[in-house]
Symmetry: C2
Subunit: 278 residues, 2 copies
């Protein structure tokens, strides 16, 4: 991997890298914040998965997370939201399909299946790459995300309960098989067999008996996508039915934006840091 | 003025307004963050002036200031960086002249003088407007800014020492009459008489005997514009010659970006809050 940018922030460094991804069969860009503690020791990592239309840039610019990561001694690993490039399939007329909308799954339908393997990328290829080259404690990681990336964080941890110490999300798509965003991407990337979709849906995974990983969710009550797309109540019901530990906080008056994330990101990072150092 | 957006953040509200500005003879947009304390009492205000190419959006999204403003009970008043509109003179081929580059002065040359009166706007029209309509303590304000906006913050306070309790800046253009950015805009907006420029230059104003206002400046040593455009040493020399109180902190390894601002904005807000509540 090649470092293409390095900016000092809160005493640590916000770096950007590029590498040829095997999972995604394209050049991928990602960002890493290394806290001051990483200059003298290996640190735990929090992976952040962003939402529709984002790149690795949105979170690092808008969330205000680096301050807390510096204080807590956490590295932030911030991948892109899909494969990229002229040779990568896309639907340029849609913001919610194709590039910028990888949904953190492994596509099985052509032509998407050649590149849209963000699940493999986030859970296997990227951790192997950064743990081999950066001052990270091998295997010590947690995961969080927003909206589509909240869905991504949940399925990555639910499908790999021994690989993540904790998971959290802001306004996640909790039950994508029932949301227009999810139905649209899953039918395109996976085909029309709805049973196959359930392996990529947090609510369905918990209903099917996924092992517990500590889970914190913040959801704004003024979120413009809450009613149609996000369905936290479905996830809550699934957790209740299986005694799956969930902390779901309905935050009065907050919307779907990064201003909502900025308000609570410090609490999420402190919560992950506690799990990572327990 | 008309509220066009309101987003809950850190328990307070980030609002955006539009109004017909008399100073700028155009429709102006600005943002205000009202901390939770503003729901029950009047609060002091910190004005933030942004740099070249910015609107009111950059600071509110990138600096992470709202967290500190919420904690400290400060309102943030965030104007645009120039007049705007199809009828407003511009130089679309340049990022450093015309719209997005008002330089916080009152232009005297046609056609710029009709609209480019950001100094009047920031020091008189906007405070009168927000103090008449929002829960602000009348007259209790400080000012800060970045780059061109750091220059703006300095000249606003130096020319109105009784109107501002404190001033601060990140990487300000300290001596615009000697910087290519300043020379370009001043010659266009003010004409070729360099003596007239000195009334809009912080270093020249201090050399000419401006009354003291507490002044804090952070400047990154890895700032790509430091050598050619910013000249903090000129300001430092002027302050030393007149016993003008200056705290200039050269911050090792920091650049000109909002990541630099985010790192130190909390210390600036705490410093202003102390001055505003003294």
């Amino acid at each position: 991997m090649k470092k293409i940018e390095s900016i000092k922030e809160f005493g640590g460094y916000l770096n950007r890298y590029q590498h040829e991804s095997q999972s995604c069969d394209c050049l991928m860009t990602f960002s890493v914040y290394l806290p001051p503690a990483a200059e003298t020791q290996q640190v735990p990592a929090l992976y952040w998965l962003s939402g529709l239309t984002c790149t690795d840039d949105n979170f690092r610019v808008k969330a205000g997370a680096q301050r807390y990561a510096a204080e807590l001694g956490l590295a932030l690993i911030i991948p892109d939201t899909s494969p990229r490039g002229d040779h990568v399939p896309d639907d340029p007329d849609r913001y919610d399909l194709g590039q910028g909308a990888g949904f953190y799954i492994n596509a099985t339908r052509a032509p998407w299946s050649q590149n849209y393997r963000m699940y493999d990328y986030v859970t296997r290829e990227l951790p192997e790459l950064v743990e081999a080259t950066l001052p990270l404690v091998p295997g010590l990681k947690s995961i969080s995300g927003h909206s589509m990336g909240g869905h991504g964080a949940l399925i990555c941890a639910l499908k790999n309960p021994h690989s993540y110490r904790s998971m959290s999300a802001f306004a996640p798509i909790c039950n994508p098989v029932r949301s227009p965003w999810g139905e649209n991407c899953f039918s395109t990337y996976l085909g029309e067999d709805r049973e196959a979709w359930k392996a990529w849906d947090a609510t369905c995974l918990i209903e099917a008996g996924a092992k517990p990983v500590p889970l914190l969710i913040d959801q704004g009550t003024a979120d413009e996508f809450l009613a149609e797309q996000l369905h936290p109540q479905q996830l809550q019901a699934a957790c209740a039915a299986r005694d799956f530990p969930l902390t779901l906080r309905m935050q009065d008056g907050y919307d779907h934006s990064y201003h909502f994330i900025a308000t609570f990101i410090g609490e999420h990072l402190a919560w992950h840091a506690a799990a990572l150092t327990a």
